[in-house]
């Protein structure tokens, strides 16, 4: 198995003459927590869509979990998990039904599904609520459960698109605790966020500006490099260079 979870080389996506993603190159090591930051419209979402295999790049190379981004998207999809703030779980299904469903679409065996479901319920202290509808849960719980669902088939890499938006500060930290737990077990985490304190929880972060990666390093090194006291300042410093607007 490759030591690199994600390898991207000069990856680009053009919409007409508009370069949404402009030759980005980066590596993510196995078990790394990689923060993918940028202002609205910098090209984060487009880049992420290419990496999870639902959008074909205009040019460049990339491999995810050792699979080619052009020809092996089916294999990629089987080996990654994805969670976004917008879509997470089915509101009108119970917790148990949601987990069974996600286990089912990834082809897990019945005993595996049962075992994993118990694990998740124990981890989240949700045993009692197993048969409760997801919509009756508070947002923070939903997000934690959604993360568990994304992790349900033990993917090599999990992509998290603003997973903690609008979540209360305590739950946000519990969420990151889960992220770290997963990373320690060898799962690679690729995460976007608008909370700059969360950026500092990442092992490394990349900053996208106008479709390009303008900076990439550990939070500590970035702060040094930009002579800033917080990631907030680094972000503002970089994002101000942006010349284009657009989502």
């Amino acid at each position: 198995m490759n030591e690199l979870a994600i390898k991207a080389e000069k990856l680009s996506k053009n919409f007409g003459s508009f370069k949404a993603v402009d030759e980005i190159s980066f590596d993510v090591k196995k078990g790394e927590v990689f923060g993918f930051l940028g202002a609205n419209g910098a090209g984060k979402t487009t880049a992420m869509k290419m990496l999870i295999g639902i959008s074909t790049p205009s040019s460049g190379k990339a491999s995810i979990a050792g699979y080619d981004i052009y020809n092996e998207t089916e294999k990629i999809k089987r080996n990654i998990g994805y969670m976004s703030q917008k879509f997470s779980l089915y509101d009108d299904l119970t917790i148990g039904e949601n987990l069974r469903f996600f286990g089912g679409i990834y082809g897990l065996s019945r005993p595996d599904i049962k075992l994993n479901t118990e694990k998740v319920l124990d981890r989240l202290h949700l045993q009692k609520e197993k048969n409760a509808l997801v919509k009756s849960l508070p947002l923070g719980w939903k997000q934690k459960l959604a993360f568990s669902a994304a992790m349900f088939h033990s993917p090599q890499i999990v992509f998290l698109d603003e997973p903690t938006g609008g979540v209360d500060p305590l739950t946000r930290r519990e969420f990151w605790d889960m992220i770290y737990e997963a990373a320690e077990l060898g799962t690679t985490i690729f995460v976007t966020t608008h909370y700059m304190d969360e950026a500092e929880y990442c092992n490394r972060i990349s900053m996208m500006v106008d479709g390009k990666i303008e900076a990439m390093n550990s939070p500590k090194e970035l702060k040094k490099q930009f002579n800033a006291s917080s990631m907030d300042e680094v972000f503002l410093d970089l994002a101000r260079k942006a010349t284009r607007t657009g989502d």
Binding site: G41, V167, T245
Partner: protein, 307 residues
């Protein structure tokens, strides 16, 4: 007169026989010309509160006044006096920037040029794109247009429900700069946000969680109410340190904050005591200092004390 006065407002929703308490007897006043922030996570009841204040929703109990008018009896008067930007507000995507603004001006029975001064600082930034469809604007520009539309009739009170949610830090900062500028015109602004770091841009804030206010005050006073000594610790591996600290009886709370850990002790001891504790337990650290808490520290402390 106050811009907003609410007293013991409660609101419960019943969806499929399941009751959800959105607001549980909340009260506050907002003064004229102040920026009043309602800060809390999604689902805390912020939107329900805004809809009650903008006369879109009737409270189950309690009273509320906006510019001296009762939200139930005098709703027509309130509707003439307030500007409102709902959380999911997204303008008419197929109308141009100018058409959107003109439409809202006429709906509120004003002419753009009469009130241009009010919106000028904001609208000037998007005026070069006035023929562009609203749907083709970037997030930040949409926000500016929406704000211009909510302001065009020179309201006395402006209600902004989560205007910065999902917006990147740069656009958020710009947005708050605009609000500070508007305040100079004497406008009263009630704004909600899930981002704790925006609290300092408000004159006063109410921290809201599960339909209840945890605290209402000026941001710096809320920080002063934080009675414990707060320590910031930096170590090579925060996770190991965090785990070790959480097991100690002497520790009241320990939360990661960026690359640091924020810690409070049960007995409010001085830093020397804490250092000894760390050494005794062989908890490795690089840097330790006593720090001023932020709003997020306060919010979590208040959440924990309510639980």
């Amino acid at each position: 007169m106050k811009a907003v006065t609410i007293n013991q407002i409660s609101k419960t929703y019943t969806v499929q026989k399941e009751k959800t308490i959105a607001l549980d007897g909340v009260s506050f006043d907002a003064d004229l010309g102040e920026i009043f922030g309602i800060i809390g996570p999604d689902g805390a009841g912020k939107s329900s509160l805004f809809r009650i204040l903008t006369t879109l929703l009737l409270p189950d109990s309690g009273t509320a006044n906006v510019m001296g008018y009762d939200v139930i009896k005098d709703y027509k008067n309130i509707r003439k006096k307030v500007g409102y930007m709902p959380g999911k507000f997204s303008l008419y995507q197929d109308l141009s920037v100018e058409e959107n603004l003109e439409f809202f001006a006429t709906i509120f029975n004003v002419k753009i040029k009469d009130n241009y001064q009010m919106i000028a600082p904001i609208y000037k930034q998007i005026e070069p794109f006035k023929d562009r469809k609203a749907g083709a604007l970037s997030g930040g520009m949409k926000q500016k247009l929406a704000l211009s539309c909510a302001l065009i009739h020179k309201p006395d009170v402006l209600f902004l429900d989560e205007p910065t949610t999902g917006v990147d830090p740069v656009s958020r900062k710009e947005f708050w700069d605009m609000l500070s500028e508007l305040k100079q015109h004497g406008l009263s602004i009630i704004v909600s946000t899930p981002y704790m770091d925006e609290a300092n841009r408000c004159d006063r804030i109410a921290l809201i969680q599960e339909g209840k206010f945890l605290s209402i005050n000026q941001p710096n006073k809320i920080i002063k109410e934080f009675k414990r000594n707060l320590y910031s610790l930096e170590s090579l591996n925060n996770r190991i340190a965090l785990k070790a600290l959480k097991e100690k009886n002497e520790i009241h709370s320990c939360h990661p904050f960026g690359e640091k850990l924020h810690i409070t002790l049960k007995e409010n001891q001085e830093i020397q005591f804490f250092e000894n504790l760390l050494i005794q337990n062989k908890i490795e650290y690089q840097h330790l200092e006593k720090i001023e808490p932020g709003i997020e520290d306060c919010f979590m402390e208040l959440m924990l004390s309510k639980q």
